[in-house]
């Protein structure tokens, strides 16, 4: 039943070759386009590149490398595949419940509330937060900044369009998150799509920002960065947490994804966890 020894060795060397090819590919992307994936989770990158290779009909990763050096559109597609843009409205309703109960009172102490959603993908998270804070009476004081390093998703975020087939799920999420109105108050359905209320958009600015290389761009009362850090290696995570720390006002709020934490960060002690059940932290005064 064994795999013959010689075959096993061929497999080992194939995997070694793949590792080298991936490293070279990431180096090529960085040198050519400035996007730096070299400190991302290797297992994640390997999976995405394999998938892209499968779909692209190219012979091997080295061929992909050559193509992307000369073909910007090809690179854009690879970038799209490397950045997981999956998101939803009121994702993890329990998170939003805690925001309502424990974070709104903190935000309410500020005369002006700036909120940065880093790695916002198509923006569903901003629209959710805008709806929540509107219901909590903070709308007039708000300014949202949505950033991502992928222009394609930012374009969609600006449009504020959601697929109609997602509405049922989003409505359920909205209700579970403590929504006090009807979710249908916030969109207009048109065939397969639903347009989110223009009023919400007025409070939002979207811009390209790369967490690996770009700097602080203002003092925030809250930063939301969910399901982005899981794709980063330890050192890169640490850099980004420092960036967030530097961007927050004293007492400012940092929200991470439900399976992310500050556990391994050197800034762990500069924050306190606001609620035990959610990854919501407050920068110490």
């Amino acid at each position: 039943m064994d795999v013959p020894v010689t075959k096993r060795c061929a497999v080992t060397s194939r995997r070694e070759t793949e590792k080298i090819e991936i490293q070279l590919l990431l180096e090529a992307i960085f040198l050519r386009y400035g996007y730096d994936f070299r400190q991302y989770s290797k297992a994640h990158i390997r999976r995405r590149i394999r998938r892209h290779l499968e779909l692209s009909n190219m012979e091997n990763i080295s061929a992909m490398q050559h193509r992307l050096l000369t073909d910007y559109d090809f690179f854009q597609m690879l970038l799209y595949d490397l950045s997981i843009n999956i998101t939803e409205m009121f994702r993890n309703p329990s998170f939003y419940l805690v925001i309502r109960k424990h974070v709104v009172p903190v935000l309410a102490t500020h005369p002006f509330i700036k909120i940065w959603h880093a790695g916002c993908a198509t923006g569903e998270e901003l629209y959710s937060m805008a709806i929540l804070l509107k219901e909590e009476g903070l709308f007039s004081r708000l300014q949202f900044y949505g950033t991502d390093f992928n222009d394609l998703v930012l374009q969609k975020a600006k449009e504020g369009i959601i697929p109609a087939k997602a509405i049922q799920e989003y409505t359920r999420n909205y209700q579970q998150s403590g929504g006090t109105h009807s979710f249908s108050d916030y969109y207009t359905a048109r065939y397969e799509r639903a347009l989110l209320a223009a009023e919400l958009k007025k409070k939002m600015l979207f811009a390209n920002h790369n967490l690996v290389v770009d700097q602080v761009f203002g003092e925030m009362q809250m930063i939301v960065c969910r399901n982005v850090l899981i794709y980063f290696g330890k050192e890169l995570q640490d850099r980004v947490i420092r960036l967030f720390y530097d961007s927050l006002c004293r007492g400012g709020i940092l929200c991470l994804g439900s399976r992310e934490s500050l556990r391994f960060s050197s800034l762990h002690d500069s924050f306190k966890q606001l609620v035990e059940t959610e990854q919501i932290y407050q920068k110490k005064y």
Binding site: V3, R15, R47, I230, R259
Partner: protein, 214 residues
Amino acid sequence: MAQHHTPHPQKTHYQAIAMGVSFGGLHSLQTILPKLPATFPVPIMAVQHHDPNGDDFLARHLNSLCAVRVKVAEEKETATAGTVYLAPANYHLLVEDDHTLSLSSDEKVNFSRPSIDVLFESCADVYGESLIGVILTGANSDGSKGMQMIKEVGGLSVVQDPQTAEAATMPESAIAATEIDHILPLTEIAAFLLTIVNPAAKNTSKTNTSCDTL
């Protein structure tokens, strides 16, 4: 094959177990895991398909029954012996080259997140022939492709005998997809794993010949 049959009794050949289970999983895990001692010499990474809104109940429940530690996998923690890591609801579980764990919210695979295929593929990359893949009961075919990859890199494949499974589809599908080294009734899986990862036990199931010795 016979000339390779030199057992290496000093070191256990295996470094990790990747386990996949779906419908009927609670019963299977409850049958296997409590039989493993706290000193179990390798980590177990497991995907159990469950309710996306489910909490960490399963891990806590199993942990209370077991001598090995059972917990929900946290990103960046290192996979350690004597511990069972369950993929959290709604995240894929992967292993890095340095044996730390990663989570990902990539699209579903086989309509599942976590997906067994995703876990098995990354474990196969990292552990190669030192990996044991285990497919238990389930009503879909997630894990079959992953098991194929484990066999490709020379790992060991173990499948629960479909006749002893609440749902036979998943084990049957794995059996159809690739060569399976051991098809075992549910009640015998724990004892088998114990023997095979125990350094003192004779390695009877497969050879230890590696590239270097050729």
